[in-house]
């Protein structure tokens, strides 16, 4: 038993699981204290997500952008960078995908759809390139720059929509059918949910990230820079180039997440008065997934379930959506303090010696 516990892989699975359980438990206590019924609430989440096709569809739909933003954060993190700018990169990606598909609406689907996704990756990549470059050349901390770039992205996209692509209802016009990821088939089997083909894009991205990081020389370099930039430099790697590259790829993944919302879920982009939060949730998803592809997919699934669940919790158990936000925050708190869980586990097992 102790041997297994000492194994770090095992820890990587158990610690997030305990964090999630503790989060749900604290959530239940908060619900009890505020006069709601936690059993009914959690039951309603499970029933809706697993037994009602509509909510299953909506959950998978919510997973799509979360996987991509989670991968974006995880990727940068592997190179030792904390990309808080995923939210902004997502917004510029979203806008670019929608803008391109409206501008070139005459193109056939086979060209337009990949083009729109590609452009969203480029736009997001550019948004990641700037902080990457500043970090590499001038040692400006990426956290500060990316936070600021979020605001630039939010207000720039709002301005562009307002002045160039405005339709009634504070949004852009709808994208043409030829750029849409929406699927009548997927929608029909899930009783009319907004599930779209983007799930394939998201899963491919997860494979891509895994392959790049763990199966290529470049990936090894990127990870080496993350472990120890000084040793990497000594070994002859170009640390600065790797930092820029990592931010660009991270930004591109976030940009694609934006195109999923634009081409799949909404089919347009609205003027956002505040951040939409998918990018910030991506940070939590990456933390929960221990910065691995498979972990990110699991983390994204959990978050999507809670997100869809918050809707049914509200309507069946009367629990306000704010409680779900608290539960998510508590889970993140426990993951952040995984050291404590680790310590407790070790204490527990030491007795068995």
């Amino acid at each position: 038993m102790t041997k297994i516990l000492k194994n770090s892989n095992w820890f990587n699975i158990v610690v997030p699981m305990i964090a999630v359980l503790l989060g749900l438990l604290v959530g239940a206590i908060i619900m009890l204290l505020t006069g709601y019924n936690p059993i009914l609430a959690y039951q309603s989440i499970l029933e809706s997500v697993f037994l009602q096709p509509y909510y299953t569809g909506e959950t998978i739909r919510a997973i799509i952008p979360l996987i991509l933003t989670g991968l974006a954060v995880a990727f940068a993190f592997r190179t030792g960078l904390f990309n808080i700018g995923v939210e902004g990169q997502l917004l510029v990606g979203w806008f670019s995908a929608v803008a391109v598909s409206i501008m070139f609406s005459g193109l056939p689907k086979l060209i337009l759809l990949p083009l729109a996704i590609l452009v969203s990756a480029l736009a997001g990549g550019l948004w990641g390139f700037i902080p990457g470059l500043l970090k590499a050349r001038l040692k400006v901390h990426e956290v500060i720059i990316t936070i600021m770039m979020n605001y630039v992205a939010l207000y720039t996209t709002n301005y562009l929509i307002k002045h160039f692509l405005y339709a009634e209802g504070e949004k852009t016009p709808n994208i043409p059918e030829s750029a849409s990821l929406a699927s009548t088939l997927l929608s029909n089997i899930s009783q009319g949910s907004r599930l779209h083909w983007g799930i394939i894009v998201a899963l491919l991205a997860a494979v891509f990230v895994w392959f790049l990081l763990w199966r290529t020389t470049k990936g090894y370099e990127l990870r080496a820079v993350g472990y120890n930039p000084h040793a990497s430099r000594y070994a002859g790697m170009n640390v600065n180039n790797n930092i820029v590259l990592s931010m660009v790829i991270s930004g591109a993944l976030a940009g694609v997440a934006g195109s999923m919302e634009g081409l799949g879920t909404y089919q347009y982009m609205m003027i956002n008065s505040t951040f939409i939060g998918i990018g910030f949730n991506g940070i939590a998803v990456a933390l929960l997934g221990m910065n691995t592809s498979i972990g990110v997919i699991i983390g994204a699934t959990l978050f999507a379930i809670l997100q869809t669940g918050s809707i049914t919790m509200q309507s069946t158990a009367g629990v306000p959506t704010e409680i779900v936000s608290i539960i998510i925050a508590v889970i993140i708190f426990f993951i952040g303090s995984s050291y404590i869980i680790r310590w407790c586990l070790l204490r527990l097992t030491k007795g068995g010696k």
Partner: protein, 365 residues
């Protein structure tokens, strides 16, 4: 093994807490399950503002709770016949609307023009549902309103015109301010109606209009108000949701410094919000509650106004001047009533867009 014992203890704790939790659960779920299927059910889906935003959503919810009381329906709890669902983000709109539709609610309101696309999607997927949207008109591909959606709109320009008349007659400095939330067609109706009202009674008055770019930024509202009062304006009309609360904050602090400044409130009677410094001159009320109540009642009586565009103006008492009028003289109130009459009988058409306002100005001369 000690480890085993510890694990056992842990398992026991979990089991016990689980039983306790489920015991509590059993008790409260009994209350909820008592509901008859035949009762009329009406719900609303809010945007991210929630039902305590002191403005639009709150007003709609007040309408529904009054309706619930009058018809002896339960409201606000899980399994109530009258309920609201709050959206945490824009992507929640459709699942929330669907949630109520799937539970066979007889009528579902969407509060706010941000839900136009969402309503049209839900409406086409559920042709038998009865939906309603506030502040917008949902049209299908043929540009006609959808059959199963009631569209509730307001002639905000008419109510704004009346408070404009009040401002034009009350100003001492001949300078008047307007603070808008997001520069959009909807808020332009407030601005142009207001300006037209001011100019009708006081052609010399100067009007400064400024937009905060957000409905939820009281700090920006306060900064803009400070600038406008600094320019010499003594009255500001705000149509900016929570941003407008900042205008009140600024007016109060100016008044404490001995300046005579006023705010004109919006959507609800905001007299209380001006206390204790008493800075609310009057308010332009928009009776979202009344509209929501009317449509619910009509639907309950089997007269769902689907496909109709309901316009609530002065005539329908859908907009107007707030009941708190203690700061207005008899003369001003008489003038207001004159103009109200003229708008109702159609001899004045209040402008709602910038273009209409320009034409309106040229007719004044």
């Amino acid at each position: 093994m000690l480890l085993k014992k510890k694990l056992l203890a842990l398992a026991a704790v979990i089991t016990i807490s689980g039983t306790v939790l489920s015991a509590c659960g059993g008790a409260s779920s009994d209350n909820g399950s008592k509901k008859s299927e035949s009762k009329f059910k009406v719900g609303m889906v809010t945007d991210t503002g929630g039902v305590d935003d002191k403005s639009f959503n709150q007003s709609a919810w007040e309408g529904l709770t009054t309706f619930a009381k009058d018809n002896k329906l339960s409201a606000g709890k899980a399994n109530s016949e009258v309920r609201y669902l709050q959206s945490n983000q824009a992507s929640d709109h459709i699942p929330n609307l669907n949630q109520l539709v799937h539970q066979n609610f007889n009528l579902v309101f969407a509060t706010g023009f941000t839900m136009v696309e969402d309503i049209s999607k839900v409406s086409s997927q559920n042709p038998n549902s009865q939906l309603a949207i506030i502040d917008s008109v949902v049209t299908g591909k043929d540009k006609k309103p959808l059959k199963n959606v009631a569209n509730i709109t307001f002639k905000e320009q008419q109510g704004s015109f009346l408070v404009g008349v009040v401002a034009g007659l009350s100003t001492k400095t001949n300078k008047i301010g307007f603070v808008g939330g997001i520069n959009s067609a909807l808020i332009k109706k407030f601005e142009n109606g207001f300006k037209a009202g001011v100019k009708s009674v006081n052609p010399k008055a100067e009007i400064y209009a400024q937009y905060a770019g957000a409905f939820d930024a009281p700090d920006k509202g306060q900064t803009i108000a400070s600038t406008l009062y600094g320019k010499g304006a003594d009255i500001i009309y705000q149509s900016a949701g929570a941003t407008g609360n900042g205008v009140f904050t600024e007016a109060k602090s100016e008044k404490k410094d001995g300046k005579k400044v006023w705010v004109i409130g919006v959507d609800r009677d905001q007299y209380d919000q001006g206390l204790p410094e008493d800075v609310t001159l009057t308010s332009m009320v928009k009776r979202v509650d009344k509209a929501v109540y009317d449509v619910s009642k009509r639907t309950k009586d089997g007269d769902f106004p689907g496909g109709e565009v309901l316009e609530y103006g002065l005539k329908e008492n859908g907009v107007g001047i707030a009941p708190s009028t203690q700061h207005l003289s008899k003369d001003i109130l008489n003038k207001v009533n004159d103009y109200k009459q003229k708008i109702i009988d159609g001899s004045i058409t209040v402008p709602s867009t910038d273009k209409e306002y320009k034409t309106f100005l040229s007719t004044l001369k």
